[in-house]
């Protein structure tokens, strides 16, 4: 592989930048709707399902759209995943897994103590959103610098 090629942005890295932006914006928008909605309203009346589904749906549409554009626009040479792409992908998945685990444990605990389903749902949702944000950010950081071997 040439020097020029390794210094440019690989297709996987470009995909990851899409993931960084969509996950970050989705999280901010969802929390931006949820938290003001919680003020002055009984928790069981706060509507979060529709905002979550809208945010998720829009993120998927925007994400897939961007992936299609990148697929068409990127040079052929960068289409193959190399070892580095695979290792970095694994780092992202590892970080994401731990977020999902934390969210799941919180949700299970809340469910056992019979907390409002609002809290159960939202620990899972926030766990998923944080998994997306942290995994994509750690991949982006790994692409731009040193990364630990997994």
């Amino acid at each position: 592989m040439t020097r020029e090629c390794t210094e440019s942005v690989s297709r996987d890295e470009a995909y990851n930048w899409v993931f960084v932006l969509t996950s970050l914006i989705s999280t901010l928008v969802y929390l931006g709707i949820l938290i003001p909605g919680m003020i002055g309203t009984p928790i069981s009346d706060v509507s979060y399902v529709a905002p979550f589904l809208w945010v998720l749906g829009s993120a998927l549409v925007v994400g897939f759209g961007a992936v299609v554009v990148i697929r068409a626009a990127w040079p052929k040479e960068s289409r193959f995943r190399d070892e580095r792409d695979k290792e970095i992908d694994l780092i992202g998945q590892y970080v994401g897994s731990s977020m999902v685990t934390i969210g799941g444990m919180a949700a299970l605990t809340l469910s056992i103590v019979d907390a409002d389903r609002f809290w159960v749902s939202n620990s899972l949702i926030v766990g998923f959103l944080f998994a997306a944000v942290f995994s994509s950010f750690s991949r982006a950081a790994a692409y731009r610098g040193e990364y630990p071997e997994l």
Partner: protein, 168 residues
């Protein structure tokens, strides 16, 4: 066989067996009583504890069995060759019993990634149940089942990688 590999086997067996008792009991109760009246909470917490305890106990048992195996096979090999067992050889084998190297770490993380993916998929059902305001009982059972499935597939993934080798 490293400690990590024995732990993977122990975890696979423990997560297959111990939660089965819990789910048989609790799902059996769910057939006969309204789910809101079932006291599953204590059973669930105990089951988590017993699963972890059984994993540790099995790992220790496998280590002991392995250590005995090393001595026995050294004696058998020595008897066949008609000479006394070589204590250095046995000592070297015993030392390798609890080594953890880079490969073990890589396999362990690979297993955790698999288990995270399974948990992510498995957590969708409890999320849907919670968003549609279903009984807390079913939310808790499906979440616990997702965790157990994740732990089980993670352990199996580690065993498979130990058997077939790491490929990135």
């Amino acid at each position: 066989m490293s400690t990590e590999e024995r732990a993977a086997w122990a975890s696979a067996v423990a997560t297959l067996v111990v939660p089965a008792f819990y789910f048989t009991r609790v799902l059996g109760d769910a057939r006969n009583y309204p789910v809101a009246e079932i006291d599953y909470q204590g059973l669930l917490i105990w089951n988590v504890g017993i699963t972890i305890g059984a994993t540790i106990a099995l790992t220790i048992l496998l280590t002991i069995a392995h250590a005995i195996g090393i001595h026995v096979s050294a004696e058998v090999a020595a008897a066949k060759a008609g000479r006394p067992a070589d204590p250095d050889e046995v000592e070297r084998e015993m030392k390798s019993l609890d080594r953890t190297d880079a490969r073990d770490k890589a396999i362990s993380r690979r297993g955790e990634v698999v288990s995270g993916i399974v948990l992510g998929i498995g957590a969708v059902l409890p999320l849907v149940l919670a968003m549609t305001e279903r009984e807390q009982f079913w939310i808790a059972q499906s979440l616990y089942a997702a965790f157990i499935l994740a732990a089980l597939t993670g352990a199996i993934a580690k065993i498979v990688v130990y058997r077939t080798g790491l490929s990135s």
